[in-house]
């Protein structure tokens, strides 16, 4: 909804805005949808002037069609695949996180969602030398843990410091500050806040701020959830960053595990990885498995250095709907 204001386009002065308002035309949509001929008579302006205004307003506010060929060209030059630093997870994700897309990690408590996020952040900042935006909504991120993970990868303290500097952490504990942050990042602060180019935005966890708002008969929560999704998607597309979010899981009536945040959210992520704790191993090792659409099973091992390291990948079935990406060169 865009409210009509004077000076929005040539010919739209204060008098005309007032006249239009008196005729019940308050927004751009109203102008565009109304019968111009009839409106011109009611507001006693020339049909030609009003028609021109309508055309300009439409051009200003409608989305402009782009040719598919141009879009593909642009995509080829801008899309990057970001390795998670974890060969088996990369294999599962078809070589890594894709920029312009939302990837979701869902799993129960202690299934290693946050650890995978830390691993990705460390890999991107330390090895790929790119900036990472880490939005922490649970307070689970500690710098010492990141450092600990970096120390297993690199022994150079300077390198570690630089890498840590490339991870920009936002601690946000409600949906409004999350939205605020996403909108601010989208409106240009993304590149400004971080000197280097940002390649990944991680939200751990997205469900922690959304799920308290859901339920009951209110629609506000759903609306806010869709807004968060929209902000993440447009940011991912416009700035070519990979978005990684974490989600909790719930149990269905039949006992199966299903991703949290309900059906409306389920359409949002492009790829979902389900992490599962599998058995209790001795000596700080716990086997985990991840399902990417229930078709692919990934076993991960959380070693005592704490780095999540998937051991075996068993792609049981390929050709998962909409989740498979092929034909890249």
């Amino acid at each position: 909804m865009v409210v009509l204001r004077e000076g929005m386009c040539p010919g739209l002065d204060a008098d005309l805005v007032r006249d239009l308002r008196a005729a019940g035309i308050k927004t751009v949509e109203d102008v565009v949808s109304s019968d111009i001929e009839d409106l011109a008579q009611r507001c006693s302006v020339s049909y030609k002037a009003l028609f021109a205004i309508r055309r300009v307003l439409l051009a200003q506010h409608a989305a402009f069609p782009v040719s598919g060929a141009d879009l593909y060209e642009e995509l080829l030059s801008s899309t990057a695949i970001i390795s998670t630093g974890n060969p088996s997870l990369d294999k599962l994700l078809d070589s890594g996180l894709f920029t312009g897309e939302i990837t979701e990690l869902s799993g129960g408590p202690g299934s290693g969602k946050s650890q995978v996020c830390f691993g990705v952040a460390v890999h991107v900042s330390l090895h790929l030398k790119q900036s990472v935006i880490f939005i922490d909504t649970t307070g689970g991120l500690t710098a010492s843990r990141l450092l600990q993970m970096m120390q297993t990868e690199s022994s150079n303290p300077e390198e570690q410091t630089e890498a840590l500097q490339r991870i920009h952490v936002f601690r946000l504990f409600n949906i409004f500050s999350l939205l605020d942050c996403l909108f601010a990042l989208r409106s240009g602060r993304l590149q400004q806040a971080c000197a280097g180019s940002v390649k990944a935005v991680i939200v751990d966890s997205v469900s922690a701020v959304i799920s308290p708002l859901l339920g009951g008969k209110q629609n506000e929560g759903m609306s806010l959830m869709i807004q968060v999704a929209g902000a993440l998607k447009t940011m991912a597309k416009d700035f070519n960053v990979a978005a990684l979010v974490t989600n909790h899981v719930t149990r269905s009536d039949s006992g199966g595990v299903q991703p949290g945040l309900g059906v409306s959210w389920s359409h949002i992520p492009r790829t979902r990885v389900l992490l599962e704790r599998r058995g209790e191993g001795g000596g700080g090792r716990a086997l985990q498995s991840a399902l990417c659409d229930p078709d692919q099973v990934l076993q991960t091992a959380l070693s005592h250095q704490g780095r999540v390291r998937p051991a075996v990948v068993e792609p049981l079935e390929r050709g998962v709907v909409g989740k498979e990406k092929t034909g890249r060169d």
Partner: protein, 300 residues
Amino acid sequence: MTESGAQLFARLEARRCLKDIEKKLFPGDGGPENGEVVELYGSEGTGKTELLYHLLSRCLLPLSAGGLEVDVVFMDTDYSLDMLRLVSILDSRLNAARSSSSSSGSDEEVLGSCLSRLLVVHCSSSSQLLLTLHFLETTLTSRPRVALLLIDSISAFYWPDRCEGGTSVTKQEEKLSKCAELLGRLLRDFRITVFATCHAIRRNYSGPSSFSSSSSSSSSSSDIDRPFLCRPWQRLVAHRLLCSKETTNMAANNNREPKRRQMFTVHCTSSSSSSSSSSSKTKSYRSSSFCITDAGVEFI
């Protein structure tokens, strides 16, 4: 409103009919006629998008590769258009066509001409959707080869609209109703065909979910499959394609049995008003199954 000669001509000139877009999908001999709306409905991971890409690639491909060679406008409200996937589908179909018959032109060229037949619009709110539909009127006028409008998805702004509208249902549905009305007019004027996807918004508690490890009874598709969008939109829809995933027993999958392909079913309900008695609507049904490969949807 005045109309130029070119506009009149673009409006009256017959657009390519998409009745034969996919014979295996629609009941009887009836694909979508000019000016009809097809809705693809289903929950996450039921093959809606793949089906949409299948139909889209059929429209974009040149006649020599078994396509229809028409222009398509793709309205992406979900920001979900995966160009790379679309290109890989087009590519494999072009290759298949090339191996069977020798056609001229290099790969890149043919692919480029396919993609140039596609126009993509991204919309981020329902008001923008409405304005863009108004704007499309000029696009349709200037491009008489546009025969198909795809909307992925029409339900994208359902929750924001519900919230913005406050307590009044009419207010909540106002935007989409306006879009539907306008779309109705565009359909009448330009005789294009519309395909739109619609996401399920309720979980099917009785049936198996996409992640459930032991799926048992097949669901009675009553509650979740009920249309939830506004009445003006429902009235536009002539064919409803209900997508679902065929249930597989995941428990058996763990012991490395031979790979099985995931099957999808699509159930089509067409309501076409017969010409003799315009008031009574006859409904016809058809179910078909498909699986998804690297080359896109394959019907079985």
